[in-house]
């Protein structure tokens, strides 16, 4: 039953990513050119509601729909890993025009070359795993 809920949430999110055009390479390029408000509107409005929701959850020990305690962990403190990792991610985001969520959406939408991007992303994840202890964090 829970699995079915996760699947429905995924399907819903996949539809939103496609229909919002956040999964379109063109929208990402346009965002980095500051030529349209579209992507900023999406991220901005998601954030306003996201902040309100998250703060509401954190004030007053809300229970999950399954009656369990909800824990929203803080990110561990650091600067180097977020700055360097973030810049590398941004370079790839702009080049491939897709972050991880849209990659899955585009696969379902039938853009088969996205498989090459996903392969690259798995490779990048794997190489990070190998080098993790040698990198500044």
């Amino acid at each position: 039953m829970r699995d079915l809920i996760y699947l429905i949430v995924g399907i819903f999110f996949g539809i939103v990513l496609f229909k919002s055009e956040a999964a379109s390479w063109f929208r990402i390029y346009e965002m980095f050119q500051f030529d349209a408000f579209h992507m900023y509107g999406i991220i901005g409005s998601a954030l306003v509601l996201g902040v309100l929701f998250t703060q509401w959850i954190k004030r007053g020990n809300k229970k999950s729909l399954f009656g369990e305690e909800i824990k929203i962990a803080d990110k561990e403190k650091s600067i180097a890993r977020y700055a360097i990792g973030g810049i590398l991610f941004g370079l790839g985001w702009a080049l491939a025009g897709a972050c991880p969520g849209p990659m899955y959406t585009l696969l379902g939408a039938g853009f088969l070359p996205i498989l090459v991007v996903i392969f690259g992303a798995l490779l990048g994840t794997f190489v990070y795993g190998l080098l993790k202890n040698k990198l500044p964090h």
């Binding site: 699995d3 809920i5 996760y6 949430v9 995924g10 399907i11 819903f12 999110f13 996949g14 939103v16 990513l17 496609f18 919002s20 379109s24 390479w25 063109f26 929208r27 990402i28 050119q33 030529d35 900023y40 509107g41 999406i42 409005s45 954030l47 902040v51 998250t54 999950s64 729909l65 399954f66 369990e68 929203i72 890993r81 977020y82 700055a83 360097i84 990792g85 973030g86 590398l88 941004g90 370079l91 790839g92 985001w93 080049l95 025009g97 897709a98 969520g101 959406t105 379902g108 939408a109 039938g110 070359p113 992303a121 798995l122 490779l123 990048g124 994840t125 794997f126 990070y128 795993g129």
Partner: protein, 185 residues
């Protein structure tokens, strides 16, 4: 029905993305798409190569199911919820892209120069796609999250690390589009 079949405006899409995060939190989970890449590496045997991949991947099974759903969602959206999939980007953007040689700008969902099946026999484009993916995968794990984990969830939780990561995302993206694209195309 007509407005569902058209592209969804930002003021509908943004709240629906926030809703996705809210539902996952209400289910006791979290909103993070790139974690699945690590889980997939572990399933493929990465745990034999590095400590980073030694974790109980079954604890992330729920997120893999979400990922399968996202794939299915893309299929549903393109086949049943879309009539014209071309993306109406701004005329300035179209002009800039045509100058770089992206002639499909304004008339398709993805640039055919990168995402038509012909690219499978084009080594330069294949290299670009692998490189783009590599940077996304490597950078997301190094930064501990991607757009969903940092830009939406992390900032919603007012996390300074996520703000640093998101500034990094934009710095990297601007660098790519404004300084590296002119060298590549």
């Amino acid at each position: 029905m007509d407005s569902i079949l058209k592209p969804w405006p930002w003021y509908v899409s943004g709240p629906l993305i926030a809703f996705t995060m809210a539902i996952l939190i209400m289910l006791g989970k979290r909103f993070g798409m790139s974690s699945n890449l690590r889980t997939l590496c572990t399933i493929a045997g990465g745990d034999k190569a590095a400590e980073f991949f030694r974790f109980d991947w079954k604890s992330q099974r729920w997120n893999l199911i979400v990922m399968v759903g996202v794939i299915m969602g893309g299929f549903v959206a393109v086949n049943f919820l879309t009539i014209d999939e071309s993306v109406a980007i701004s005329t300035e953007t179209v002009a800039k892209l045509k100058q770089l040689g992206f002639h499909s700008a304004g008339s398709s969902y993805m640039p055919t120069e990168f995402f038509a099946n012909e690219v499978f026999s084009d080594p330069k484009t294949l290299f670009i796609l692998v490189l783009g993916g590599f940077l996304v995968g490597f950078g997301a794990r190094y930064a501990g999250g991607c757009t969903s984990g940092h830009a939406i969830s992390g900032l919603s939780n007012l996390q300074l690390p996520s703000l640093i990561a998101v500034i990094g995302f934009f710095a990297g993206g601007l660098l790519m589009i404004h300084f590296i694209f002119p060298l590549l195309f």
